[in-house]
């Protein structure tokens, strides 16, 4: 999936957002590309940029290790979206994200100059977002935490973290963790997700308690899990589990609903994800009713000749994946909606000519603005055939930089 990064921010609510924004913007590539190290001692680390490991096509992903955190990369996330239905058959969408960001005082401070792991000292900043939406309702919450990657106790006992096996990613009492405890078994087979915000039975109560069961294999995007994000070679490590069956309970505005449906978990990490001239992106994850999945994104800027950079994955029901290059994919906004003082495209035409796919993808509800520290639009979409209009599937759309 895409980095949750925005280049030009809306007015800042407080210092905290300002600062975080700064951090994330820096990651997004607003800053100049740090110069390659040329000292003799570092000659072998050709992929090292300012001390961070740079994502590249030659790294082979390995599991379960890569489910956990990668503190040598600047930024990373665990990103779940789900298209569910409640007991009345009413559609309901949710999102849960844990972001990790290496917290170093300047872009030139390499990981080897991290602070001593004294009490409270931190080299990692964590941010978690939760959203639940149903009809016109849209509830959002976010939280922050710090940790130190060199403090052993914090890897399992800190305020936030992510460990590979048995898998557990958490911030406070917001926890996504594996139910599989036998050694050797696939830790990603069955997960539980618990996150609540607001106390007691109040109107503001928001959250969910879900069970996630994997009904297909992990999917590696791009070239064996290296997903290029710009024509100049910038990119990230990127894999997904798009085959979750989800069951559980969701609370929105103090009301609890029993839900079931499909979910999509993205894992992505990188040190420099985007080129400096990329302003934002539009990202789709679609569950088609025939069992196939489509991931497609468009980075606005950074393509050949300064155009858009498009990429995607065509996923068969058995998990077989075909990367889609820029020219194999068309994505065109058709209509915008006014949301949070902006014009956001909520109706799109998506074409994958190689798969005979020509769809209209539309958000039934435009009010899905994530009014978080780093604000963006994220919501459920319905895909229909461009010509016939029959429903083809559901999914999620994320748009940043508007």
């Amino acid at each position: 999936m895409m980095p949750r990064v925005i280049k030009h921010a809306v007015p800042l609510r407080a210092l905290l957002p300002a600062a975080l924004l700064g951090a994330f913007v820096a990651l997004a590539g607003c800053d100049e590309t740090p110069p390659e190290r040329s000292g003799a001692g570092f000659a072998g680390l050709g992929e090292s940029t300012a001390g961070f490991v740079q994502a590249g096509p030659d790294t082979t992903l390995s599991f379960p290790e890569d489910h956990g955190a990668h503190p040598d990369y600047r930024i990373e996330w665990w990103y779940l979206t789900a298209n569910l239905k409640d007991e009345q058959g009413e559609p309901l969408g949710l999102q849960w994200t844990l972001f990790r960001q290496a917290l170093l005082s300047s872009e030139t401070t390499p990981p080897e100059e991290r602070p001593e792991p004294t009490p409270w000292a931190a080299d990692q900043l964590w941010m978690a977002h939760m959203a639940v939406s149903r009809g016109a309702q849209h509830g959002v919450a976010e939280r922050f935490a710090r940790s130190h990657s060199a403090a052993p106790s914090q890897q399992t006992d800190g305020q936030a973290g992510a460990v590979a096996s048995p898998f557990r990613a958490w911030l406070d009492d917001w926890v996504l963790e594996s139910e599989v405890t036998e050694p050797g078994a696939d830790t990603f087979e069955r997960l539980t997700l618990t996150a609540f915000e607001g106390d007691g039975e109040g109107k503001a109560r928001l959250g969910y308690q879900l069970t996630l069961t994997a009904e297909g294999p992990l999917v590696l995007h791009g070239r064996d899990g290296f997903s290029q994000k710009a024509a100049d070679g910038q990119g990230s490590h990127y894999y997904s589990q798009p085959f979750w069956r989800i069951e559980g309970e969701v609370t929105l505005a103090g009301e609890t609903h029993t839900v079931s449906g499909r979910g999509w978990l993205d894992r992505e990490w990188s040190s420099q994800l985007l080129s400096p001239d990329q302003a934002g992106w539009d990202w789709f994850s679609l569950h088609l009713d025939d069992g196939r999945r489509l991931m497609a994104f468009r980075l606005r800027g950074g393509g050949d000749d300064g155009g858009d950079y498009r990429s995607g994955s065509w996923i068969a029901p058995d998990g077989t994946t075909r990367p889609l290059a820029s020219q194999e994919l068309t994505m065109a906004p058709l209509a915008t909606s006014p949301v949070a003082g902006r014009e956001v495209p909520t109706r799109w035409r998506l074409e994958v000519p190689g798969e005979n796919l020509d769809m209209i993808v539309e958000a039934p509800h435009a009010e899905r603005w994530m009014d978080t520290t780093v604000p963006y639009w994220e919501g459920e979409v319905v895909a229909r055939d461009h010509d016939g209009g029959e429903r083809l599937g559901v999914g999620y759309l994320e748009m940043t930089g508007y």
């Binding site: 800042l12 609510r13 407080a14 210092l15 905290l16 300002a18 600062a19 975080l20 700064g22 951090a23 917290l103 170093l104 005082s105 401070t109 602070p115 004294t118 009490p119 409270w120 000292a121 931190a122 080299d123 900043l125 922050f144 935490a145 710090r146 006992d157 800190g158 305020q159 958490w170 406070d172 009492d173 609540f196 106390d199 007691g200």
Partner: protein, 835 residues
């Protein structure tokens, strides 16, 4: 029309070209009056700004959590609660000492969990959070904290000053922070304070938690009293003093203006005669007033700012030690301060000049205005003054009657009005009194022509001098009143300290080692008795008196002490239900004492029952006694330390150590230090505690005394102004005396005797008036402002000093005109008479 007015104004002002002294006096009066007033207002405005900053800080306005057993919270407590979904944020607070000795409050925060907009948002700049959270971190501080670090704003940015505790992270200025406060990431603060995993407390958004998590005590932000509330009375007192100075200063102005009009009467008549309308004349004079007023007010504000700058460190120290309220030692003045200062001075000037304008408006073109005619007019004026004085006295009596029926502690403003009425009655009745005395003395001195002349002459001077003498009376009686109050307070306070501080040593052990230290001390042979104290906070929910229950919601502090052999005989009590011994017995059995402040504020008497909020609900306690608690701005409930610990889960605070006879306190301190590695500040001996307390006390009244002295100086100036103003005319009257054969030296002596006598009379009136003021201060103002009543102490020394000051001031003021007269050749006296 405009040019006409300009011509008129120029003509009017030309008078001052010929009498620059008068202009100087007028401006001086305005300057001094408005300087004192605006100085105090500057202090108040600065302090208010500091309070506002303190209240905007995250440490206030948030609910707090502390451990019930008094042990410090740690990072693990924070993590455990967070992982249970309790939205707490850690706060680490400590003190650092700057190289110049200033104590700086260091606050370490975790901006990632700190609740919402309360805090960081308002205190911060748009600097990146990364810089705050990651090495080398940042120190955020207000610009007025920089002097303590020996830096100016230029050098501050990014500087990393070294303190005893270590190097501070690079400085970033955040003007919204309170003074003497450093804010940084909790990681940097923990390193500087060597706090390890320990934190001071957990905070949470107000009302976020319905109840305290197990093992923790929840203190709601609403039960914490803000510094602004606490210090209100203090600032009101300052304002009253400043108002006094302003009024006295305006007396000078009034005198100078009256004189300038008097001397310009001929000119004004001429102007009227050549066709200037009465209205234009008044307009011209008013314009002159505004012009002079603006100059005086601007100079006054500049002087006030200077004065405030000089006094502010003392005020800040006082407020810090009395109320724990941090006040910046650098002035921070809002725009309305400047406008307000100008308005008050100009308003005062117009008030003082109203009489002049009124007289100018009624000016008769043909009136020849001689001294005798003036005199009969003055007789009427004296009658009016007596009547006005009687009216004010009646008003004062009515106010006093009303006040005496109010519950104690009410009516601070009314108390000040009563004081003002007292002073006004004294001032209004002074001239009739003096005139009557002069007339009586004149009859007595019928056989001594020179004395008789002197008395008659003084009577003739009285109209001119009366205003200055009234100012002197006000200044003298206020000074006597305030000094007697301070002196009485000092005696009471020192006595009270002696009674209360009975232990030889006072130890402040760290909470986590309290038990170990206590046990260790208990086994030492040098120790005769250990007196543990505890501290807590609670809310007074209800008072039951005479079968009726009164619901309240008043935050109170809880204080627990160990009623031992050494303490109970001397600990001061004001009122008990059934005698001292019975009261102490009741305390040991779970009763409570309350301080005078609380008793006065809520009308609680011994025998009443209190209901106090506890973590588990409410606790009922019977009030056995009321004790004096000078210097404490808050209501306090006292109980046995063991009871306070058991029923309110209050943590232990300090240990008072009574040494065995002949034991060496220093050796014990050294042994204690080597056993527990306690900080140098942890152990204090009784003498040191007393020194600190007395130091705070003295500092508290520094500003009172300074303002008093300045007011007195203003009054002296008023007198000098009046004397200088009439000096020329006086010479004309003295010439015939000289011509009749009275030597110059004798004439001078007579003059000095006239004034000295008048001043002595003023001083004699000032003594009873001053005593009345003292009574008002200790019985009305102090009770209403601070909640404690003081015994009325009278100091013969102060009274003698008042009389001496009166005469000295008068003689000093008379010296200059007398010297001038001495230097004038007799020929000139005659020449003036003929000319």
């Amino acid at each position: 029309m405009a040019t006409q007015l300009v011509t008129l104004l120029t003509t009017l002002l030309s008078h001052y070209r010929r009498h620059p002294g008068q202009l100087a006096m007028l401006l001086l009066g305005l300057w001094v009056a408005s300087a004192l007033w605006s100085g105090v207002q500057a202090i108040n405005a600065s302090a208010k700004e500091s309070y506002a900053r303190a209240e905007a800080l995250f440490t206030t306005g948030l609910d707090r959590l502390e451990r019930l057993d008094g042990k410090p919270l740690t990072r693990d407590d924070f993590l455990t609660l967070r992982r249970q979904g309790v939205p707490v944020s850690p706060l680490l607070e400590g003190e650092l000492t700057a190289s110049d000795g200033t104590r700086l409050t260091l606050i370490g925060i975790d901006p990632l969990t700190l609740p919402g907009d309360s805090a960081f948002a308002t205190a911060g700049s748009t600097q990146e959070l990364t810089g705050f959270l990651a090495p080398p971190w940042q120190t955020r501080l207000a610009p007025d904290t920089l002097p303590a670090l020996g830096l100016d704003a230029e050098a501050a940015r990014g500087a990393s000053p070294r303190l005893a505790a270590g190097r501070l992270p690079p400085l970033t200025l955040a003007p919204a922070l309170p003074p003497q406060t450093l804010v940084m990431d909790i990681a940097a603060a923990a390193a500087l304070l060597d706090a390890g995993e320990r934190i001071s407390r957990l905070v949470t958004a107000p009302g976020a938690l319905a109840e305290a998590p197990p093992g923790l005590a929840l203190t709601r932000a609403t039960t914490l009293v803000s510094p602004g509330q606490l210090t209100q009375s203090f600032h009101l007192n300052l304002t009253a003093l400043a108002l006094l100075a302003l009024i006295v200063g305006l007396f000078i102005v009034q005198a100078a203006l009256g004189l300038a009009l008097e001397q310009r009467l001929a000119m004004l008549r001429t102007l009227r005669a050549i066709g200037v309308s009465g209205r234009a004349l008044v307009a011209g004079l008013a314009l002159e007033l505004v012009l002079l007023g603006s100059i005086g007010a601007l100079a006054g504000i500049a002087g006030g700012v200077w004065l405030a700058r000089a006094l502010l460190p003392d005020v800040a120290a006082t407020l810090g030690s009395l109320y724990g309220a941090g006040v910046g030692v650098e002035l921070r003045l809002p725009w309305h301060y400047w406008v307000g200062g100008l308005a008050v001075t100009l308003g005062g000037l117009l008030l003082a000049g109203a009489g002049v304008l009124w007289r100018a408006a009624r000016l008769s073109v043909l009136d020849l205005g001689r001294a005798q005619a003036w005199r009969s007019g003055y007789q009427r004026q004296l009658g009016r003054m007596s009547l006005a004085g009687a009216a004010v006295a009646a008003l004062g009596l009515a106010l006093w009657a009303w006040l005496s029926r109010q519950p104690a502690g009410e009516g601070l403003a009314a108390g000040f009005v009563l004081m003002a009425a007292l002073l006004l009655v004294g001032a209004l009745w002074l001239p009739p009194l003096l005139a009557a005395a002069l007339a009586g003395l004149g009859r007595l001195a019928r056989r001594r022509p020179l004395a008789q002349w002197a008395l008659a002459d003084l009577e003739l001077q009285l109209p001119r001098l009366s205003l200055a003498l009234m100012a002197l009376l006000i200044a003298l009686s206020a000074s006597l009143g305030v000094n007697s109050m301070v002196g009485g307070f000092r005696l009471t306070f020192l006595d009270w300290l002696d009674q209360r501080l009975v232990a030889d040593l006072y130890l402040d052990p760290p909470a986590e080692r309290f038990a170990a230290v206590h046990t260790w001390l208990g086994e030492r042979p040098e120790v005769a008795e250990l007196m543990v104290t505890r501290h807590g906070e609670s809310t007074l929910l209800a008072v039951d008196a005479a079968g009726a229950s009164r619901p309240l919601a008043r935050p109170v502090s809880l204080f627990g002490l160990t009623p031992g052999e050494r303490l109970t005989p001397t600990w001061p009590l004001l009122e008990t239900d059934a005698g001292r011994e019975e009261a102490w017995r009741a305390l040991g059995e779970g009763g409570a004492f309350i301080n005078e402040q609380l008793a006065v504020a809520e009308g609680i008497a011994p025998g009443d029952r209190l209901t106090l909020a506890t973590p588990g609900g409410g606790e009922a306690l019977a009030v056995a006694a009321i004790y004096p608690d000078y210097g404490n701005p808050r209501g306090e409930v006292l109980m046995a330390a063991t009871e306070l610990g058991r029923r309110f889960s209050a943590p232990p605070d300090s240990i008072g150590i009574v040494l065995a006879p002949g034991a060496d306190g220093e050796a014990l301190g050294a042994a204690l230090g080597s056993e527990f590695a306690l900080g140098r500040d942890a152990l204090r001996d009784q003498g040191e505690v007393k020194r600190i307390a007395t130091g705070i006390f003295e500092r508290t009244f520094t500003i009172t005394r300074a303002l008093n002295a300045l007011t007195l100086a203003v009054a002296a100036l008023a007198l000098l102004a009046s004397l200088l103003a009439q000096a020329r005319e006086r010479r004309r009257r003295l010439a015939p005396m000289w011509a009749l054969g009275v030597p110059r030296g004798r004439l001078l002596g007579v003059q000095l005797a006239q004034l000295g006598g008048a001043a002595l009379a003023v001083g004699l009136v000032a003594v009873p008036l001053g005593i009345a003021i003292t009574w008002g201060l200790v019985a009305v103002i102090n009770v209403a402002a601070f909640g404690w009543r003081l015994p009325l102490h009278l100091f013969p020394g102060e009274i003698a000093l008042t009389l001496g000051t009166a005469v000295a001031v008068a003689l000093a003021a008379a010296a200059l005109p007398a010297l001038r007269l001495w230097r004038t050749p007799p020929r000139a006296l005659l020449a003036e008479e003929t000319g």
